[in-house]
Amino acid sequence: MVHIKRIQEEGADIIAIIGEIDASSSIELDLTIAKSVGEGFHKILVDCTALEYISSAGLGVFMSYIEEFKDKQIHMVLFGLKEKVANTFSILGLADLLQIQSTKAEARKLIDELSV
């Protein structure tokens, strides 16, 4: 249902989500982010270009890391959200709580600025 890939690029961990995240698959996203944090990454980019669907279980995973990231000075930027996925974030008002950019280049630029 979901396939998650990790690619390391210039000091950032890029987590690419392919497919759908619902209550049955959100654990995989959670474990992947936890692994990235555990390996000491301070720049996490989440590639959502192939994310077709996300329910509150997946959104809850992102939210549950907000405070921890603040404490550990870890930055996370999402990019490439399809309109139907972006709509779910905006219904909940999460678009204001998470860093979201349109393209990978913009996400890369923002995370570098945030990490200075």
């Binding site: 249902m1 759908e20 619902d22 209550a23 049955s24 959100s26 959670d30 669907y53 329910s55 509150s56 279980a57 959104l59 809850g60 995973v61 939210m63 549950s64 907000i66 405070e67 921890e68 309109e83 139907k84 709509n87 779910t88 219904i91 909940l92 008002g93 999460l94 709580l97």
Partner: protein
């Protein structure tokens, strides 16, 4: 026109529920943004029921009915015989509190209340029926 889908209470069936809704409403001219929203709301309601009322037991069954009484009105009914999980009795959690408590749940209730126009609970033939109504705003 009405449609019915019966499934076991396993979270792995959520994808089938989403596909059933999309297929059933395919010819009802539902705008894509509203289609995605109602699918999301039903996914949230069904996963809540599966987890909290049925402990994800695939032998427990639930039914999903879709009725389109008018072109701009969609009525969904989730029928089961577990304990009632009435979202109207839960206060909509504040986002700030969810972040602070690092809770992964609680967002679904916010989504359902934001998307659906009405959420009612009735009893029929000894079963619980959760009826969700969506009035479409777009012309399609």
């Amino acid at each position: 026109m009405s449609y019915q889908y019966n499934i076991g209470c396993s979270l792995s069936n959520l994808k089938g529920i989403r596909e059933f809704i999309r297929n059933s409403l395919r010819n009802h001219h539902v705008p894509e943004v509203e289609m995605s929203a109602v699918i999301l709301a039903l996914d949230e309601m069904c996963s809540n029921l599966m987890i909290h009322a049925h402990h994800c037991n695939p032998d427990h069954k639930m039914g999903l009915l879709i009725d389109v009484p008018q072109p701009d009105t969609l009525v969904f009914e989730i029928v089961d015989d577990g304990s009632v999980f009435d979202i109207n009795s839960f206060a909509t959690p504040e986002l700030g509190n969810l972040i602070h408590e690092k809770r992964k749940g609680g967002l679904g209730i916010r989504l359902v209340k934001a998307i659906m126009d009405k959420v009612e609970y009735v009893s029929r033939d000894g079963k619980n029926v959760c009826r969700l109504t969506k009035v479409l705003s777009g012309s399609g």
